[in-house]
């Protein structure tokens, strides 16, 4: 029983990280119809920027994470302007190729700046707490709590503000949004900024329990794609649900089936759900 509860906690931790990454991916897909393959590299950049700020300038973990989110939001806007905006009227394949190009560029850049080594992100929450007979590191609790706060914030922003509504409007009907006077390029930039900012926070949260290295985004982005296909492309509740389903399934599978097959579970679930519900669990957002 203890083992089971322990795995629930672990699953919620991983699920939280997945959630934050998948939310950004699905937001960008919903608004711009762009499957951004570079999202995982942006996640990696977020981790390295936080790491650098902590190591070189001794910045506090919180401030470093915040600064990294802001930096990534700026990088996200730059990517939208320099890479995707010029291709807005080009054939769809060009966008996909550009996204892969951005992925390779960012990864190469990380190799040049930080080298190929593995790093661990230091955290002030490295102690262990005993809770209901379970042993949990503070960082894991912090990850789950921070994610819940971010989810609530994002929800309020999208549902209660006009700017948030303009993002939703554009993902539900692009032409309708233009005709009421919503500026398409402004919403695109904002969406990118939110998505990459969330990725930076996710990476900074995961950094202390996973490792930081230039190709750390690969497996994360693959799983994020599984999640948004699972949840329904463009659906935000779907991304959250899919993130936690995957996180829990992985930790359970790793414990009760086999550690070696942990990463396989994501794809087994994908095949299973898509054969039962080809449009994903909660399809919506994008028509």
């Amino acid at each position: 029983m203890d083992l089971f509860l322990q795995q629930i906690i672990n699953g919620l931790t991983t699920g939280s990280i997945y959630c934050l990454v998948a939310l950004g991916l699905t937001l960008v897909y919903g608004v711009m119809h762009l499957p951004n393959f570079a999202h995982g590299s942006l996640y990696m950049m977020g981790a390295f920027i936080t790491l650098t700020l902590i190591k070189s300038s001794g910045l506090n973990y919180w401030l470093a994470m915040l600064a990294s989110a802001v930096a990534l939001a700026a990088i996200g806007i730059a990517a939208e302007r320099l890479v995707f905006h010029p291709l807005r009227n080009a054939p769809h394949a060009n966008n996909l190729i550009a996204a892969v190009g951005l992925l390779l560029f960012l990864e190469g850049l990380a190799h040049v700046i930080w080298g190929p080594e593995f790093w661990q992100l230091p955290t002030p929450y490295d102690r262990v707490v005993q809770f209901l007979g379970l042993t949990i590191t503070q960082q894991r609790l912090f990850i789950v709590a921070a994610t819940l706060v971010l989810l609530a914030g994002l929800y309020l922003f999208l549902k209660k503000t006009l700017v948030g509504a303009s993002i939703e409007a554009m993902s539900q009907d692009r032409k309708g949004a233009s005709l009421v006077g919503i500026k398409v390029s402004r919403v695109s930039m904002l969406t990118f900024a939110i998505a990459t900012g969330l990725a930076a926070v996710a990476a900074s949260l995961a950094g202390p329990i996973n490792l930081v290295y230039p190709s750390m985004g690969h497996i994360v982005i693959l799983k994020a794609f599984v999640i948004i296909v699972l949840g329904g492309m463009g659906s935000l509740p779907g991304a959250v649900l899919g993130g936690y389903i995957l996180g829990l399934a992985e930790s359970m599978g790793a414990t009760y089936i086999s550690m070696a097959y942990k990463d396989l579970i994501a794809f087994a679930i994908l095949v299973l759900i898509l054969s039962l519900r080809p449009t994903g669990l909660l399809s919506g957002g994008v028509k």
């Binding site: 509504a165 539900q172 032409k175 309708g176 233009s178 005709l179 006077g181 919503i182």
Partner: protein
């Protein structure tokens, strides 16, 4: 007033609009008649700034608007209710209307007033204000689309095929309100395939074929025109 002067539009090598010239004067309601694919929606998209013309000029209230981005054209007072409605299906009726006032969102008081006016025009929208737009019937969605377009308080309303897919009874109701909107001082440019209904509503009309204006006359003249009768009224 709106004025299009020799406006041409290309889709790649295909010339979709050939030197279109038309005008809508203060207080007028004008019909744009033509079959599917004649170019009516292209004219609307060009006026709204979604398509850039290859040549010619568009003026609104004496100001050149061709080349302006869509949001600025809405700000200047040209609002479009597009064919197919293009509502935000998962948002509530209320939120769709509020987004219609996006360009004047700073004017909260004015927006609230306009909202009440829209509810008065289409009481069903107030009744269903918390329902998602996608759950409404076709006629109600059309009313919502018109209501949303009016939320920006336009001086010119571009109304693209509002009767498409509606029952004759609902069409009548929608057009009654359009007439009311026009009487209150809003210019209306109405694109319709259903010439019989449209011409009973407007003062003048243009007939479009293959991206060209082939005929321009008062509605009485068009209704008695043998060609128009044959092609668009079927009598």
């Amino acid at each position: 007033m709106l004025r299009m002067i020799d406006v041409s539009v290309n889709y790649g090598h295909f010339r979709a609009l050939k030197k279109i010239s038309l005008e809508v004067n203060e207080g007028e309601m004008v019909a744009l008649l033509g079959a599917n694919g004649a170019g009516k929606s292209t004219i609307f998209q060009t006026i709204s700034g979604l398509i850039k013309p290859a040549g010619g000029a568009i003026e609104f209230m004496g100001k050149r608007i061709d080349g302006l981005p869509p949001d600025q054209i809405v700000r200047l007072g040209v609002s479009q209710c597009p064919e197919g409605r293009h509502l935000f299906p998962q948002m509530s009726v209320y939120k769709n209307l509020i987004l219609g006032a996006y360009v004047r969102s700073a004017d909260r008081k004015g927006t609230a007033e306009t909202l009440q006016e829209i509810y008065k025009l289409f009481p069903i929208l107030e009744e269903k204000k918390n329902d998602p737009a996608g759950s409404l019937s076709g006629g109600q969605q059309q009313m919502l689309a018109i209501g949303r377009a009016l939320m920006s308080r336009p001086r010119l309303l571009l109304l693209d095929e509002p009767s498409l897919g509606l029952s004759p009874l609902v069409t009548k109701e929608v057009f009654r309100v359009v007439k009311e909107i026009n009487r209150a001082g809003t210019m209306v440019l109405l694109a319709e395939q259903n010439a019989n209904v449209a011409l009973r509503l407007v003062g003048r009309g243009y007939v479009i074929e293959n991206g060209e204006i082939v005929l321009e006359d008062s509605s009485r003249g068009l209704l008695s025109n043998a060609q128009v009768k044959k092609a668009y009224i079927g009598a």
